[in-house]
Amino acid sequence: MTDDDQQLRVSKIRNGTVIDHITGGQALNVLAILGIDGTSGESVSVAMNMPSDRLGKKDIVKVEGKELSQNEVDVLSLIAPAASINIVRDYEVIEKHRVERPSVVEGVLECPNHNCITTEDEPVQSRFAVVEDGVRCEYCDTIIRDNLPAHILAD
């Protein structure tokens, strides 16, 4: 059975984004990154731990009526480095690309160190360097390894 056959089990969307090849088990974290908890009414399909030739197991997320910002893609790439993003208009995939691991994520994550200057009321955005196994605050050096979605800045 191919990946495509598996995807057919989830209904097609008209306009929106399909995020495929998410690391198995990370779909709910992807939704957290996108700020989707189901309360705002958009139609969302999630498939978890589907067989995948490339990844062994993968998750798929389809979100109606949503296109991702660069910041969202950057954080997504950290927890699902193999993910591909398909932008769908009128049931057709009009754009497809793989996420790229950025060297820096800016203004997306909040530093967990409460004594870091970026958590104060100063005209500065948080900035994290992407390191081997996590991200690192470029101001106070704090390293975040686990649970990145929990550190996404509130709007």
């Binding site: 870091c116 104060e120 500065v124 390191v131 106070c140 050096d141």
Partner: protein, 305 residues
């Protein structure tokens, strides 16, 4: 020196370190030759936390180079009290001074401040972060007493929050040093510092007891364990008591062991150590002046002799 701002010991290469230390040695040998070097230069002092040694030695250094200081004074008496941001404060004060020295209680403050100013800015301590000029004077003292070759150093006390420790540990990766870290488990090196030391391939060992390595050490760098790091007084007393040294403790050490401390000390080094040849902490504090003179001179455009 290629750096406009001195924010972290991590930015200092071996060549940078040697350049500052050599220049400091030349200044220490003939301070009078530098007396008018920076007449008309004003150093802006922004100390958001109390400081005695760092502030006084920067002041002395600038004055001995012929310049002067302008001082924000205490936070209580400044516009910070009215809620001014650090970014605004430094942008205002850079208009008054040729270079800035900043001490601030939050990590990353010096880096952020440096992004808002064009004049050189020196980090004089950012929370539990870094304190690179202390490191330069520490290195000067180490080089004077023990040298940089085949060095075995023990760093003891509060390794988690001690910014002088974080800066020194980074800087020591540039020299031929084995670093032993001695602390209670709750005050071991933070993850970010271990990460860097690991990346640099530094030889690092951690201990909870000084006895384990004291006889091997060329240098013992002692820091203060602060009361506020512990939930209660009795726990603090019990833990801190294990990391105090006196002349009796040092009987097990090499004859030429150098004992250092960034000061102020409370009771982690007993006064009976002061009279031994091991004690170099006052010399270390005095070295702050030539080292800071050298750094300021290089930052402000002086050429080494």
């Amino acid at each position: 020196m290629r750096h406009d701002h001195i924010i972290s010991a991590k930015q200092l290469s071996r060549a940078d370190i040697e350049e500052v230390l050599d220049h400091a040695a030349a200044i220490a040998a003939d301070p009078g030759a530098y007396a008018d070097r920076h007449a008309d230069t004003l150093l802006g002092m922004l100390f958001f936390e109390p400081s005695t040694r760092t502030k006084m030695s920067f002041t002395t250094a600038m004055k001995r180079l012929g310049g002067d200081i302008v001082d924000m004074g205490s936070v209580e008496s400044s516009s910070v009290k009215k809620g001014e941001s650090l970014a605004d404060t430094v942008r205002v004060v850079e208009g008054y001074a040729d270079a800035l020295v900043l001490r601030h209680p939050m990590e990353g403050s010096a880096k952020m401040a440096s992004e808002f100013v064009d004049v050189p800015l020196v980090n004089a301590g950012d929370g539990a972060g870094q304190h690179p000029t202390q490191t330069l004077l520490d290195l000067y003292t180490i080089r004077e007493n023990a040298g940089f070759d085949d060095l075995t150093i023990g760093i003891m006390g509060d390794l988690k929050y001690g910014r002088t420790v974080h800066s020194l540990a980074h800087a020591l990766t540039n020299v031929d040093a084995r670093q032993h870290f001695v602390s209670p488990e709750s005050l071991q090196l933070p993850r970010s510092v271990r990460y860097d030391l690991h990346q640099e391939g530094a030889e690092v060992r951690e201990h909870t007891e000084l006895d384990e390595i004291l006889p091997e050490l060329d240098v013992l760098y002692v820091t203060r364990i602060q009361r506020e790091r512990f939930p209660d007084e009795s726990e603090y007393r019990e833990v801190a008591g294990q990391y105090q040294i006196d002349s009796e403790t040092l009987a097990a050490a090499k004859d030429d062991l150098t004992v250092m401390h960034p000061l102020p000390r409370v009771d982690e080094i007993a006064h009976d150590v002061d009279d031994t040849d091991h004690a170099k902490y006052f010399q270390q504090a005095h070295n702050g002046v030539p080292v800071r003179m050298a750094l300021l001179d290089l930052m402000l455009g002086g050429e080494p002799e």
